[in-house]
Amino acid sequence: MSEKKTKRRDFLFTATTAVGAVGAAAVVWPMIDQMNPDASVKALASTEVDVSSLTPGNTLTVLWRGKPVFIRRRTQEEIDEARSVKMEDLIHPEKDEDRAKNPEWLVMLGVCTHLGCVPLNDKGDYNGWFCPCHGSHYDTSGRIRKGPAPWNMEVPKYEFVDANTIKIG
């Protein structure tokens, strides 16, 4: 009989603990999730940029979701340089054709994939970008070639609304 009583107790302990754990998790989750991006931050989804004043060999930097976006109108030399690179020489292999659908225009987040600094234009060993923080070198397609950054600079979703306007996001 005493054995049976112990089993009843065990069941009660387990059931109480389980309900308690679920309850605690239900209270903790809102506390954690409140720190994620809120509705007003998420609402700032897209930006339209007028690029008519941009001449070949120049870069425009605009802010999108709090981050800089580089819009580079590339020269023919830069395009040729980016497209002649062999895939096996790349740390993060991506074809320039996939990164810049319209070869003259390169649109990417101006954020170094190492620790988030903004790389400098027309600098570094590969004539592209150079991050002054920890020395990452990017080529004319924004691909990582040398230094601690693990990936190429990210290409966001964007489209040409008309000949002179790019919509990012």
Binding site: I32, V41, H114
Partner: protein
């Protein structure tokens, strides 16, 4: 310890103490037997308590004028500097106080390393100390973000991005930390909250740190166990109180020099430019007290491994009591360890120096060698040294070398006869 025998003299005192034994605690703290050979390196515990209280008091007053908002933070700091009565003084004490806090904590840590204070039975004191040190770094980092200058913004960006090195969940964690897609207002407000909270967590841990200290009692320069109370000890009050007080005065002279004559020398000019998410300053450096770890981060050419190396450099300290295999505590009786100790001090200073320099060429090479040596010291030299080193004979008590009966008996007698 004679705590249990203590009884307040007055009737009111007895009545109160029977209900809440605060007077017993006060008596324990004043009578607390302390080794009589403690030198000035032992005064930094008191100095650190002073630093913590200074930071809390100045921090509370600054919080009455500071506005934690991305559009107003920078201006509100200038408002404190220009408009608030003595605002410049309070802010300079708080900003330089952080540096003084770290200066004192580094001396405190290196004192423990020299005299083996982290060894049994003081491991818990040591680990609590390392947790306090980690919280200090978190508080200092978040505090540096609050003025919302260029170094604030980009320092916050780089440090939070360290978490993006974690495989799979890294990016999600960074977005969660930011409360957005970049460092912005949500980041600032939560950093302010945490910066306000952490000092009180540190305060609680300091109480535990001292509690854990009062169980075995202080280590001492000879590094031997002593009887308490005995001929080898003196009561904390007035002996240690006076000594700590004098050292604190000396420390405050250095503190005041920075506050009144060079209040910005330890900071960075770029932080007087308001945060701009479009431009990274040409040369990002953390505050001086984080430079050795920054050098370790940059010396590894891989993102994840760099972050792992930097964190390991700090966390390796927590297991130090088990890495050091020597039974002898004090470096005074460890001729080889003493040399390696000073090489480690030099190594950390070199790491600090190259951490402030650009990560290229010779600086990068030096950083890599110094990083390798740092880990070599803790993971190879210390464990091996405990078995290989021939230590010097250790006295049986603090008074023994003076009164005779030690290996230095002849020398002690000579000294006595000369005095006679």
């Amino acid at each position: 310890m004679s705590d249990h025998d203590y009884r307040p003299k007055s009737k009111v005192g007895q009545w109160f103490n029977d209900r809440l034994p605060l007077l017993t605690l006060a008596n324990h703290l004043t009578d607390y037997p302390t080794p009589k050979n403690l030198n000035y390196w032992w005064t930094f515990g008191g100095i650190l308590t002073f630093c913590l209280i200074t930071q809390i008091v100045t921090g509370l007053t600054l919080a009455m004028h500071y506005i934690a908002h991305a559009d107003m933070a920078f201006e509100s700091v200038e408002h404190i500097m220009r408009d608030v009565n003595y605002g410049w003084l309070i802010r300079y004490i708080h900003a330089n106080g952080a540096s003084m806090f770290f200066l004192a904590v580094y001396i405190h840590i290196f004192r423990s390393l020299f005299y083996g204070s982290y060894k049994s039975p003081r491991e818990i004191i040591w680990i609590l100390g390392i947790i306090i040190y980690l919280l200090m770094m978190a508080a200092a980092f978040m505090g540096y973000v609050l003025p919302w200058g260029q170094m604030s913004f980009w320092g916050a960006t780089v440090i939070t991005n360290l978490f993006s090195a974690i495989p799979l969940v890294g990016e999600g964690i960074v977005t969660w930390l930011w409360g957005g897609y970049s460092v912005d207002n949500p980041t600032l407000t939560r950093f302010f909250t945490l910066h306000y909270l952490i000092p009180f967590l540190i305060l609680g841990l300091v109480v535990l740190h001292i509690w854990a200290l009062h169980v075995p009692g202080n280590n001492n320069p000879v590094g031997i166990d002593i009887k308490k109370p005995s001929k080898d000890t003196v009561p904390f009050h007035p002996y240690i109180v006076i000594k700590d007080g004098f050292a604190l005065l000396m420390f405050m002279i250095v503190f005041a020099f920075f506050v009144f004559y060079a209040p910005n020398i330890l900071g960075h000019a770029d932080n007087y430019i308001e945060a701009n998410p479009m431009v990274t300053p040409a040369h990002i450096v953390p505050e001086w007290y984080l430079l050795p770890f920054y050098a370790i981060l940059r010396s590894v050419p891989d993102k994840l491994l760099g972050v792992v190396a930097m964190l390991s450099a700090i966390l390796i300290l927590a297991v130090l009591p088990w890495l050091d295999t020597s039974k002898i505590r004090s470096a005074v009786f460890r001729p080889l360890y003493k040399q390696f100790y000073w090489i480690l001090v030099a190594d950390v200073l070199i790491l600090g120096y190259v951490g402030a320099m650009p990560a290229e060429g010779l600086y990068l090479l030096i950083a890599r060698v110094a990083t390798a040596y740092y880990f070599l010291h803790f993971l190879v030299i210390l464990p091996v040294l405990g078995f290989k080193e021939k230590t010097l004979p250790v006295p049986l008590s603090i008074t023994e070398p003076v009164l005779g009966g030690s290996p230095n008996l002849a020398a002690a007698r000579n000294k006595e006869s000369k005095i006679e």
